[in-house]
């Protein structure tokens, strides 16, 4: 069953690649660029956390899986990513972002996103319990360059493969945020990075622990003490 679904999704991509204008144009644009295009969070420590030999930030074309127990403040890091993308903070170019949530309640509070610098004109929210199948057209389109799937339950392995292919093909950053912490045992090889974000008891810090792709742990002072918060222009 899973393999059938995967075959359908991948065949969709092949058809699109063969006939669509998006993949052709994008593939040329991005493969000709020797340096990886990256998006910065706007938080120096976090950008350096993803630093490789070339530069800081998260590279377009990446599938990132994060274990963030709901309510610990870790999604604020993703809101920073969205803000950086929509405001053109990173590299001066503005990107459309899509935040897909499987959670009906509580709903998003847009003023807080705007206060972090997000441009609400370039940000869309969708609600779906089956994000990959319902929003498939959005993954197979190059409009939204940053897509966050805030999904309490783990996605299927073939869905991860599909997302990773979409990220690579359309040079998107796709983030899957789960409510449970990730374990090395539930191996998801499709994701370039797998990270856990958690808050130690009685401490106002966020600890980012890599499960895959990175090697060191990062400790960030939590949201309401962070010096990087500022009023959006």
């Amino acid at each position: 069953m899973a393999s059938t679904a995967l075959t359908t999704l991948l065949s969709d991509m092949r058809i699109r690649t063969a006939s669509g204008r998006h993949s052709d144009g994008l593939a040329k644009t991005h493969t000709n660029n020797p340096q990886e295009v990256k998006l910065c969070f706007g938080i120096n420590a976090l950008d350096d956390f993803f630093k490789d030999s070339s530069s800081s930030g998260l590279a377009f074309g990446t599938l990132l899986e994060m274990g963030i127990p709901f309510g610990n403040g870790g999604r604020r890091l993703l809101a920073h990513l969205v803000a950086a993308a929509t405001s053109g903070l990173s590299g001066g170019q503005k990107h459309w972002c899509l935040w897909i949530s499987a959670r009906q309640r509580p709903a998003v509070y847009p003023p807080a996103w705007q206060a972090l610098g997000a441009d609400l004109n370039l940000l869309r929210f969708a609600s779906s319990a089956s994000p990959v199948s319902d929003l498939k057209a959005a993954f197979l389109d190059d409009l939204f360059r940053v897509i966050v799937i805030d999904h309490p339950k783990p996605l299927k392995p073939d869905e991860h493969v599909f997302l990773a292919q979409c990220a690579r093909q359309y040079r998107k950053i796709i983030v899957v945020a789960r409510d449970e912490l990730l374990s090395p045992r539930d191996s998801n090889t499709a994701a370039r990075y797998r990270l856990n974000v958690w808050r130690p008891a009685r401490q106002n810090i966020l600890e980012i622990t890599p499960v895959r792709g990175l090697h060191r742990t990062l400790r960030l002072s939590s949201f309401f003490q962070h010096p990087n918060f500022k009023i959006a222009p």
Binding site: N72, W96, P106, Q114, A115, L120, D134
Partner: protein, 521 residues
């Protein structure tokens, strides 16, 4: 298009344009009005009503591209379609739009008035009883003509008794009785007066005990809600509805088999001569016939008017929407299956009819005026939204200071664009929002949390609009002149955004319970 001539000078102050437009114009059979929205109703010989709900988002995109508001864009288009002195009004209810239209016609100097502007509200208050009763008589006639029989309207009550009472009391303007609520009107003057009164003064529906629910003011964007309302809306339909039928010799059940045939039928529809290639489809009706069960009517709706001809041969967008609609309709059909109807599972499709129910009729006159060629990103977004089974929601800030009312979904209207003018209040609101959570509950709820709190951190004090809000008794704990917001840290649970209703000064002990309002993602 970017200029705002005197024609639209009465628009200033409108934060969100009304859903309905009333226009006094010569437009037989709808004419160019059917190029703006497929929902056009004829009220009298020269008065037409337009429902913008099915196309509001699309025209908002177009207006945004032109750098003007939706209201300004529509007024410019109507000015070019008709004459600059054509009276046009906008309101959230067609009845209000009609009342405003009678006022603007009488005054003569006003051409385009939105009921949500200061001027619009003032004009509504200036309506005289004579005007109001006259409109009510028209309403009675419209109800008779749409229902097609007179017997049902006897229960509507007598307008002459209302006129006599008003004469006896020597009232001239309807605002003099604005305090009267709709149930009271119904008791004294009948259902018709109560309905019209409630549409005129939405706040008159204070007591919901005796007012029939079908009279409720339209709040949502659902096109069908109007038709559950008692308002006599009689849609003008284009002369020919493009339609194709198919009889299937080998019955089908699976989408993979249905899809190519349906694509072929969309091509067949494109080839029909009864509509032009410029026209945009707003909704289709796909009626499936089965071998052993009744036919199934599947509405296929597009979020933005869709150019069917542009996708000839592929019809990717229409097929995706048809697939989502088919999937939902099949699932709900199986859900509602009667216990003995086990045949539905094995039932096969033996034929279908595809009809274009609603479309924007782009006549040459309209075509020359509409500059609906969106930028590549906007048209890409429209195309994508048309392909998805779930809507993409856009939010914008509003001018309200309470957290739950400080934003609005774009689909619920066009909220104030805070990016145009950043006032001191906007900056202050942004500064406050930095300490607020990414997720909030639409209604605060009592905190019932098993996690042990390790402390409350005070954030801010927010005033409530206690003078205008009618809170139910069971939420009295959130009522009060202000709320003191805190971040509640728990040992192993979420970071919560909670508040206590503050009834008194900071030195007075307050035992109000904590209310949960948000979670810091």
């Amino acid at each position: 298009m970017k200029s705002t001539p005197s024609f639209i000078s009465a628009l200033s102050g409108a934060s969100s344009p009304g859903r309905f437009v009333a226009i006094r114009a010569d437009a037989p059979d709808g004419g160019p009005l059917l190029g703006i929205t497929p929902k056009v109703s004829r009220w009298s010989d020269s008065i037409y009503l337009l429902d913008l709900a099915p196309v509001r988002q699309y025209w908002s995109h177009v207006a945004e591209e032109q750098g003007v508001s939706l209201t300004e864009y529509l007024s410019s288009v109507l000015k070019e379609l008709f004459t600059s002195d054509t009276p046009v009004t906008m309101a959230e209810h067609p009845w209000q739009a009609l009342l405003l239209l009678s006022m603007t016609t009488e005054r003569g100097t006003l051409n385009f008035v939105d009921a949500q502007t200061h001027l619009g509200r003032r004009l509504l208050q200036d309506i005289t009883w004579d005007q109001w009763i006259e409109r009510c008589r028209e309403l009675r006639e419209a109800l008779v003509s749409t229902s097609g029989k007179k017997s049902g309207t006897d229960s509507l009550g007598s307008l002459s008794s209302l006129a006599k009472t008003i004469n006896r009391m020597q009232f001239s303007h309807i605002r003099q009785m604005a305090d009267i609520d709709a149930p009271a009107m119904q008791r004294r003057f009948g259902k018709l007066a109560a309905m019209a009164w409630e549409w005129t003064w939405p706040s008159s529906r204070k007591k919901e005990t005796s007012v029939p629910r079908q009279n409720s003011l339209i709040k949502d964007e659902s096109c069908d809600s109007l038709f559950t309302d008692a308002f006599p809306w009689d849609n003008i339909l284009p002369k020919d509805l493009p339609s194709v039928s198919r009889h299937i010799e080998t019955p089908l059940r699976q989408w993979d088999h249905i899809e190519p045939l349906l694509c072929e039928d969309f091509d067949n529809i494109c080839n029909l001569t009864c509509w032009s290639s410029h026209e945009r489809v707003v909704s289709l009706e796909w009626v499936l016939s089965f071998s052993c069960s009744p036919s199934l009517r599947i509405p296929v709706l597009f979020r933005h008017p869709h150019a069917l001809h542009r996708e000839s041969g592929q019809h990717k967008t229409a097929l995706l929407q048809a697939f989502h609609s088919w999937k939902n309709a099949t699932a709900s059909r199986l859900k509602t299956e009667a216990p003995g109807d086990t045949y539905i599972d094995d039932d096969s499709i033996t034929g279908w009819t595809v009809t274009i129910r609603e479309r924007l009729v782009i006549t040459p006159q309209v075509q020359s005026i509409f500059r609906d060629d969106l930028s590549s990103e906007a048209s890409q977004l429209c195309r994508l939204e048309n392909s998805l089974p779930v809507p993409l929601t856009r939010y914008a800030m509003t001018d309200h200071w309470t957290p739950e009312k400080s934003f609005a979904a774009f689909s619920q209207g066009t909220p104030t664009d805070s990016s145009k003018t950043i006032s001191f209040d906007s900056v202050a609101k942004l500064a406050a929002s930095q300490r607020r959570p990414l997720f909030i509950y639409d209604k605060p709820q009592p905190l019932t949390d098993r996690h042990q709190s390790s402390g409350l951190i005070f954030c801010e004090r927010v005033g409530t609009s206690w003078w205008s809000e009618h809170l139910p008794a069971n939420t009295s704990s959130e009522a009060g002149p202000c709320r003191d917001y805190y971040i509640r840290m728990t040992d192993d649970g979420p970071l919560q955004w909670v508040f206590k209703a503050s009834h008194s000064g900071p030195d007075t002990p307050d035992n109000s319970p904590l209310m949960l309002h948000g979670v810091f993602g």
